[in-house]
Amino acid sequence: MSFEIFISQFLGGLSVAMLLFLVASGLTLIFGVAKVFNFAHGSFYMIGAYFSYQAIALFDNFWIGVVAAALGAGLVGMLLEICFIRRISGREEEGAFQILLTYAFILILDDAVKFIWGPAYKTITKPESLSGSFNFGTVTMPTYNLFIIFLGLVIVVSAWYILSRTRTGKIIQAASSDSQMVGMLGVNVSLVMTLVFGVATAMGGLAGAMAAPLRTVAPGTGVEVIIDSLIVVVIGGLGNFWGALFAALLIGEVNAFGILWMPQWASLLSFAVMIVVLIFKPKGLFSREKGRKKI
């Protein structure tokens, strides 16, 4: 492998990793704070892409599309949280029912998108300001991919800052560790949960809008994305923000180089990585627990 190929695969993997992280961090945020396992998180990525497609068709501006995607996905997310997910909290075997409920969302959102926009593929073109490419010596890299890497970094840093350095972040963390106590201190805990859900799904929608020019907008894309981001979140450890970042980089790069190594089987490599990790570290790479736990 020449050095040029190495660098370009590496940067390609990095931009995939950042998109993956945008979805996966939302997933891990919901699980870490609200203890909800949102199986339908990939579907918010999908509807984000569709909202952005619709907004671009109306206003002919890529950035309005991105904002519409984030806002739209966030609103749908909060609506579903208020109408459904909140209703089953505290029930016996809550975890299983959450998975089933959000699995139902996947089916419904997939068909809703098909119903509204039709089964045909849609395409979104890159904004003109980012359609060029950068040259690093002999390596060429599209500006758009570099922008995604940059945006990913901005979101990582700001999410970390908000969660660990601000009053809002402290309330969120406190609400997740002892919601009753925080409630007694006069914080509207269920509102906090709904907002966290909204922010997380908005991040998913944002990722969908950003990824749309590189991939296609189609029903069913949510399923592919959720499986990838599940792998990321599980490898990193559910609820672990930095773990998700590391795992997204790992999966992004494994895929980028796996395609060179064995093109036909590359899509299965992520599963193999996840299985290997879970066998040795059942709660993700960054858990403190030892691999073998005797019951």
Binding site: F84, R91, D110, L268
Partner: protein, 318 residues
């Protein structure tokens, strides 16, 4: 209404409904009934894991597909007379694979267990689709030969009915056995079960192996209905549908999942043909069941029966 009466009534209804299909059913009815009993066996064996032991696996389709592919591929290469032998081999292979997968995935709990089973299922599905020279890829395997005696739709239904009935009997006995009681205990409080000196992990593994073994029998039987199998049998929506059917029927009873399968397939036969938005309907049913009727059809009928019993002046145990 006591449990003994309910069990008797369930068995009686089972024999009346699925037995009478043999005598009065037309071709379409027999086809539907075959699907119901075979998927019913899948759902019943899934419920050994979910309803009884409290383990939500999102990957039982692995063993369903495994059973179907072993039966289909062996019958295809060695001829129709080999079909029955292949059908016996399917559960054996499932036992071997499930010991391996179970030992790996059962060390995890809750969501992690669910996700690892999902990952295994997607991996197997991916291999089946990509390794087309061996498995037929996306097209699956068509025109699977069967023994001459079972060639007709009706004779195959009778055969499947006998096999499934035998399996349901075994699963029912399992539910009633001390082993079944331990599994229910593991669902409710694994720590206490371990205090009684029993090995929780080993019991879970055994439940997983038993469930997978019967699932493979169902998959093998499925290979004979339309004589065609396809990689979609492995895909996660297959596992998802089975979970839905199980909850729809009622996961706290032996026959509940079968009722769920029957309702689901009949609905699919009526609604699924007239709309292309069948998944939407499934999703809506699922939300309704999860929010309002988590105990399923069996739960509702038990509730109604209890109301009638109260009207009659008999106070039943709650």
């Amino acid at each position: 209404m006591n449990t003994k009466f309910e069990t008797m009534a369930s068995w009686l209804a089972y024999f009346l409904i699925f037995g009478s299909v043999i005598f009065v059913g037309g071709e379409h009815t027999i086809h539907i009934a075959s699907q119901i009993i075979i998927l019913g066996l899948f759902a019943l064996s899934f419920n050994v894991l979910f309803g009884t032991t409290g383990l939500l696996s999102f990957g039982q389709a692995i063993f369903y597909g495994l059973g179907a592919y072993i039966t289909g591929m062996m019958a295809k290469s060695f001829g129709g007379d080999f079909f029955l032998w292949a059908l016996l081999l399917a559960p054996v292979a499932a036992i071997l694979l499930s010991v391996l997968l179970g030992a790996l995935s059962l060390r995890l709990s809750d969501v992690y267990f669910t996700m690892l089973t999902l990952a295994f299922a997607q991996l197997v599905w991916g291999i089946t689709v990509k390794w087309s020279s061996f498995t037929g890829g996306d097209d699956g395997i068509q025109a699977i030969p069967k023994p001459e005696l079972l060639a007709g739709g009706l004779s195959y239904y009778i055969f499947a009915f006998l096999v499934v009935t035998g399996c349901i009997y075994l699963l029912w006995r399992l539910d009633r056995s001390p082993f079944g009681a331990v599994l229910k205990g593991i669902r409710q409080n694994p720590t206490r079960i371990s205090f009684t000196g029993m090995n929780v992990f080993r019991h879970k593994l055994l439940a997983y192996v038993i469930s997978s073994c019967f699932t493979a029998i169902a998959g093998g039987l499925y290979a004979g209905i339309d004589r065609s199998i396809h990689p979609d049998m492995f895909v996660w929506t297959m596992s998802g549908s089975i979970i839905l059917m199980t909850i729809l029927g009622g996961m706290r009873s032996v026959f509940g999942p079968l009722i769920g399968v029957a309702v689901f397939i009949l609905l699919e036969d009526v609604i699924g043909r007239s709309t292309q938005y069948w998944s939407f309907v499934i999703g809506a049913i699922m939300i309704t069941v999860v929010l309002l009727f988590p105990k399923g059809i069996v739960g509702i009928s038990r509730h109604i029966a209890r109301m009638f019993a109260k009207k009659g002046g008999q106070l039943d145990n709650p």
